[in-house]
Subunit: 552 residues, 2 copies
């Protein structure tokens, strides 16, 4: 029995960004068309040995390539645009983004030599992009980067609203969040709201960027030496505020770090940063100007080992060395997992003689993500029928759901879903439901390899990392050892300080290889005996590799 009278249905499928912070990617789909929102990367934690980035699994998109109308970008942060080069290597998709995000995307695609084939469209809050069954429009929000948008996907069943990352900054540096437009969207009816959960556990309301600007001016005014100011390059408003404070106090600005140079150049080109050429100085002027006339604006506020600030702290920077009187300002708070790196850099800077001002000591940073009252404001403006907390770990999703319920969304209309879940909204049904699962496992990128590393390789790396390895290589002829077994270790012990142990291992293996066993049987026997012996001796479990070659 075939149901020919098919009901209308739309699907919302997160491919990344749920149960985690990073690699955001959301699919909105109806019978005919697919719209994608964001294409981010995520940075690995310390247990993902050697992994450079993580991206979502794109296979659902590849399979449904014919339905895809476009990729829509909420804003220009890496966890929203960083995956684009990897996606474009698999699929040709037109990309729609605001001016600044588009600037970052262009420079990224250029680096990957993908710019020429890419189809890029600049969008503003005035635009509506119309496809055959869907329509996409935008509303202006505030976040820690200019040109941040929420996205409205108008489907045959109603509006699906994706907030992007947002806060409500009523005294922003750039344009204010467009509350009136948001109210209109709410009045017209929101079928489903997908909203940023990052700071759902933070009570109250976030500090305004302008408040930080005042702190920056206070700090800069007080210093008689150089100011070394570290922050995120993409936070163009913050850069503008540092430049303003410098101009106000007759300081010139030296830019350190490639991504900082790129952001300043792009920000000035596109009109987001307003500063005369004479504000910026070269390394020659840096050397000749008196300290109280110098601001250094640099990357590395998260303690990244190759960023400008780490190199300055450890004396490895070509142009900048700490001198007495330098004050280093961390205008950021450490992302969980970066605490130790930041700490190391702060100690190095202090040892080198700098004063260090960081987040704990001053109102020198504010989050780009709204706290609880801001999240409630968004829910109250949008009055959604269904609510899906996105952008966040489970605990944040859960708290965000609680906020939604407090704002009047019925509990059964809130959905904490996972990457890969297919949330279906079907005509005539009062509730949405998870009706399927698409592949959404993390895909690891190491160097130029995409997806050639998974759990088993990572498990080997973990053992190698913690215990090192020993390899045993043996020649035999007619099952009789030919020469002595070759034993090589790496990452295991100081061989010189452990001569006895290495001798014992050699003796053990030499005795084992007397047994006239088959090749694989003997290899297994050596691995087991060696593993037991080493654990008994020094309580370690190195990776053991054996290879026997039977000469003919």
């Amino acid at each position: 029995m075939v149901n020919t009278d098919k009901k209308q249905e739309i699907k919302i499928i997160p491919l990344g960004g749920l149960g985690e912070i990073g690699k955001n990617m959301y699919v909105i789909e109806d019978d005919k068309e697919i719209v994608i929102i964001d294409s981010g990367i995520k940075f690995p934690d310390s247990e993902l040995f050697g992994i450079d980035y993580i991206i979502p699994n794109y296979s659902y998109l590849v399979e449904n390539a014919h339905k895809i109308k476009g990729l829509f970008i909420t804003h220009g942060h890496e966890d929203h645009i960083g995956g684009i080069p990897f996606l474009l290597k698999e699929l040709q998709i037109p990309i729609y983004a605001g001016k600044l995000a588009l600037g970052f995307i262009r420079s990224k695609l250029e680096e990957h030599r993908l710019l020429r084939e890419a189809t890029l469209y600049e969008i503003t809050e005035e635009d509506t992009i119309t496809f055959s069954s869907m329509e996409v429009s935008f509303f202006r929000t505030t976040h820690s980067i200019p040109d941040s948008f929420g996205i409205v996907v108008n489907t045959s069943m109603g509006n699906v609203v994706h907030t992007g990352d947002f806060k409500f900054d009523f005294t922003p540096i750039g344009p204010a969040p467009d509350l009136i437009r948001m109210g209109e969207i709410g009045r017209n009816g929101v079928l489903c709201l997908l909203s940023d959960s990052t700071n759902s556990e933070v009570p109250g309301i976030s500090l305004s960027e302008k408040h930080i600007g005042n702190t920056i001016i206070d700090v800069v005014k007080k210093q008689e030496g150089r100011i070394i100011f570290a922050t995120f390059a993409s936070n163009v408003y913050r850069l503008q505020q540092v430049i303003n404070a410098s101009v106000l106090t007759n300081r010139k600005v030296f830019i350190a770090g490639r991504s900082m140079e790129r952001a300043i150049t792009l920000g000035r080109e596109l009109g987001y940063i307003d500063a005369p050429d004479s504000t910026f100085i070269s390394e020659f002027e840096l050397r000749s100007l008196p300290s109280h006339e110098v601001t250094i604006l640099c990357t590395g506020s998260q303690g990244e080992p190759f960023a400008a600030l780490s190199r300055i702290a450890s004396g490895r920077h070509r142009h900048i060395h700490i001198i007495p009187g330098d004050t280093v300002v961390f205008s950021s708070s450490p992302i969980p997992g970066n605490g130790l790196s930041v700490n190391r850099v702060i100690n190095l800077l202090a040892r080198a003689g700098a004063d260090v001002i960081h987040h704990k000591l001053n109102d020198i940073h504010t989050s780009g993500h709204g706290a609880q009252e801001e999240l409630k404001l968004m829910i109250t403006l949008m009055k959604p029928k269904f609510f899906v907390p996105i952008h966040g770990e489970f605990r944040m999703q859960k708290m965000h759901r609680t906020l939604a319920i407090q704002c009047g969304v019925p509990e059964q209309n809130t959905y904490i879903i996972d990457n890969g879940d297919v949330l279906s909204i079907t005509e005539g049904n009062d509730v949405a439901a998870v009706t399927g699962k698409v592949p959404a496992n993390p895909v690891y990128i190491d160097g130029h390899g995409v997806g050639d590393i998974g759990r088993s390789v990572l498990n080997e790396r973990k053992i190698l990392a913690e215990h090192g390895m020993i390899s045993v290589f043996l020649l035999r002829k007619d099952k009789v050892a030919f020469g002595k077994p070759q034993i090589i270790s790496r990452g295991f012990v100081y061989v010189r300080q452990s001569e006895q142990l290495m001798d014992d291992i050699q003796t053990l293996v030499t005795s084992l290889v007397q047994a006239p066993l088959g090749k694989f049987e003997l290899e297994k026997k050596i691995r087991e005996a060696l593993s037991g012996f080493i654990y008994e001796q020094i309580k370690r479990n190195p990776l053991i590799i054996t290879r026997i070659i039977d000469l003919k």
Copy 2:
């Protein structure tokens, strides 16, 4: 010209605990005698692959063993007593400690089968231990463990005071800090003060333990389900407060985690924990009692993967599984570096259905270390001539020095020194000075190995962790390859998904081994060519091992 009229001199030598948090160990020395204060361990950060603990280098003590009179323990935390078994394996030293610390030390020595040979003395604040040239006495402080002492070493040149870890808790759970005795010590004159810098960057004054007790009662009263309370086992006062809150609300207490069981047993034996037997329940009662009558007290508040709480969160605990209505309380704040692990456990607990209350949300934890006003109070009581900030990273030492200067210690009398520095105070000299350096490198412990791992082994582990390894074995006869080269990789790529790459590597090596070079020359050539090729192909740098065997 020999100076026979030798001036008096004392030396203060930190062997661990400066420029870091952990492995505290301080030497106070005069011509005749040495007194040691504390013998701690430190836990490794994620870059010390496979290392279990770090201890100080004991070689200075071994060389000067004849002068050592005793090891004096300020309190029973691992970073003050954890190194004792390793120290006693090298040296026979009598140990003096307060009752609770001694309890922890005994159980530690028993585990290492060292208890029988050890000489242990229990001390109180009434005692003075007299040697021929030095005298050691104690003053009571407050900290996050009972029986915490400051130590006064009376030398021929004056008193050297070591604060241990301390805060000033005026409403403590146990006895109050002995301010009157501290004032007396100050009045009698302090030559040099060594003081705890851990929280020197924190303004104000720390919360009292009693305040936390009130929060605990509030939290426990509100819950209708089970309470799962995670904290440090050694914080016996906190345990008492949880027990009190449970008794008050008619809950019974189940203890989870071996170190928690040990702490409760020891605490009750020694009279630090006051609770009738009927307070504690077995796993059978745990199953039968209604949820609102159950408190579970467990280890794992730092997200330690093998502690009770992690096992509960991931469903691996034998007796405890999360059920709806459970509330998990983290009564701790994450030590830097543990943030990600704690986060992971919180998300698992939330997914399993528990409500989670943690440090960010409530006054559910307080530090055991004094904040700025408390540090200033100590300096003001002691009025030291010389000041050495101890227990802390450089940034904390630096800030503590600033506080001392604010309290009237002349800047030139403050010394930020490093592990291994010999700070000499000489008769007739107005200032102290660093006059030498003794070995104070970190000693790594991995499994049963002490000191058999150093930089080079760790560097190999780092490469193995991030890129994996490839080994090439080859047989030759008369410089002609005999069979094909054997290539084995681990932690490198999914071999099945990278057949082309592995084939190319095989082809490359096979062509290289045609060259009739000497064994070592060819090994080097293979390593270089392979490393270049792999980097060019996939931008990775695996560890490459080559071994050529020339058959005779």
